[in-house]
Symmetry: none
Subunit: 205 residues, 4 copies
DNA sequence: TATGAATGAGCGTTCATTCAT
DNA sequence: AATGAATGAACGCTCATTCAT
């Protein structure tokens, strides 16, 4: 837990390099960003960069790791699919998850921009990783849906995997809309529309 | 309509270069693909490439243009939102559009891979273009929904823009799933789940 | 003397290619001129060029040869240094030569531009050739001066070689001035000043 | 005035690159010289070149700038046209200028070679610059002549501009002769012939 | 430890030249 | 004979990475 002053400094600079890289990648794209750009943003020599990270590929890996961890943390907090056992609590949990996602994805549109728009084009390995992250997210959502079905809150004949992907797709669409237009009011409206589609569908009764 | 032999040859090679570039970009990514790779795939000299396209940026523009045109053509065929005036026809139209999208997006997973995963990372201009394509797609879907509301087929209180983005998001999610797993059976299942969510929602009754 | 129609056509096109190349080289420089530019100016295919000239180096050689021949012809006409034997005739000859040089060098400023400004930068061989042309010109002028001394028209203690170079330098300066400012009136004035310096010097008496 | 060691090193290498480029351009021509040739001559990596100069055009600009500055410095030293007010001093000044020009132009024949033979063929912009340098030189010489006329040392009816160009032409001719044959004895003889023509003309009395 | 000067692999692009039609 | 499509050598330039200070 305790670190020497030097260690704390080092950790802090490491953090700042990741943040600066994140910003550069989002603003100019991974390939258009040079190591020198990242260093310049922090006012450090670009040789210093290599004392903290192996190479350019390494830093973007850390940027992505941090973002993914942030998202997973948010979702995992007290939101494990089995953490609730009443319809009431399930609804609340859904609401909480939606709000949490909104906070990270929509409040800082650089995050979806990085993950959705920038990351896949970095190289094939990262593209694959993003696809796998999507699969994992589908799995998480499927777990929630499965629990919902068990609780009797969701339709018993639900295609859990397919529906999970549909729901995640809607979230993806929201995130993309937020990237293009970060107006909070529009995001709230969009979020409501999404829940409405999810729960009630679009058909007239 | 009629072209000389030389003109046909030229047009044909042009086509082949676009296809080869498309394949290279999808397989290795835009930035990892050199002009020499595209030329080598066709067995032509890399100088020849420049007789057909201005530069590397030019070819990817054509690749994207062709894909976008292909998608819009499919959607536009006989599927203008005002082209139907009965519930029956509206439902059929929705089905047709869904199937058409399936054909192009899911039958050739290189297409969503290129547009969703590769294109945004090419440069900021292309990233912007993809976002705008997404906006345009939202507009198209909104037109369909608006027509559906007018016909009384869809809920009168539908948030048209938000719902359009939700639906497009679901399609995006399907496309992403198809990129990761191109099994046609899974795609059909997913497509059905998506329609079910759309029409009926997920809530138990 | 007689040529078939085809032969005349060929010779004519050859001539036109040389002229077009001359114009291109003067307007844009040798290195900035492509074979395609020369062909385009004539409306012929650039492959045709190679039926008339070996390569790019070959054409510029011909352009220079033609210009040099033109200049030498002018000077040589009836102006051989031994062609006159009275002071009167010598003066007339000098005048004739000056006027003839004026006609070719100053009436078409592209000629000095090509020989003085463009040619030396083509490659080391051409640079050498231009230097040797300058030497040859110095020799010609020296011959005239020598004859002038023999006739008693020029100072007996004249440094013939040095003076020849000085005179040629003045002509070179005139040509350069004409390249920069092709106004005929200025050129006449300059030509007069040059003769005055030559005959009388600049010192007050 | 004081620079750190690193700054001195940097300035020194910069100087060496300019010199190496100068030598390469003179020996092989601007267009036949690659950046790699310049770097190889110094035993540095060719990437290093770009740490000191923007591009190939930039270096040649610096080479020319340095040469022009060197020439102007030499002429300007204590040789302003108004700096003398007696015939004696005027003659001395002329002599000084001639000797100074001789020192730079004739002692290092690479300088006239670069400015007269190489520079104009670099591109149209540089060609123009050389022409303008010639104009400026004509202006400088004209200033000297004008002063000479005012002092009564030169003919009152002198065509100042024309005579200035004639004199500069003679200098140009000397420089060209020096490029072809750098023998100092010949250069001195030539220089004397030039002054003789200038002051006395060539005509027998 | 921080720096930035040095490096060279790598790539986009041009264009003189060839040759099948 | 004329054409222009095809070619690839050649070169300018970038930038991630190394390492001496």
């Amino acid at each position: 837990m305790t670190m020497s002053l030097a260690e704390r400094r080092k950790a802090e600079l490491r953090r700042e390099i990741i943040d600066a890289a994140f910003t550069c990648f989002v603003e100019n794209g991974y390939h258009a960003t040079g190591i020198a750009d990242i260093a310049a943003r922090l006012g450090i020599g670009h040789g210093t960069f290599y004392r903290y990270f192996e190479n350019k590929r390494d830093i973007v890996e850390h940027v992505i790791n941090d973002l993914v961890a942030k998202i997973l943390e948010t979702l995992a907090a007290d939101n494990a699919p089995e953490a609730v056992s009443t319809l009431e609590a399930y609804r609340d949990q859904s609401q909480r998850i939606g709000e949490a996602l909104g906070r990270i994805l929509l409040e800082d549109p650089r995050i979806p921009r990085m993950i959705i728009l920038e990351a896949p084009g970095i190289d094939t390995a990262m593209g694959q990783r993003i696809l796998e992250f999507n699969e994992m997210a589908a799995g998480l959502t499927a777990d929630y849906l499965r629990h919902g079905v068990e609780l009797g809150y969701l339709r018993a004949d639900l295609d859990i995997d397919g529906t999970a992907r549909a729901i995640n797709g809607m979230i993806l669409g929201s995130a993309l809309a937020a990237v293009h237009n970060p107006d909070p009011a529009d995001q709230r409206r969009l979020s409501a529309a999404l829940r409405r589609v999810m729960y009630d569908g679009i058909a007239a009764r």
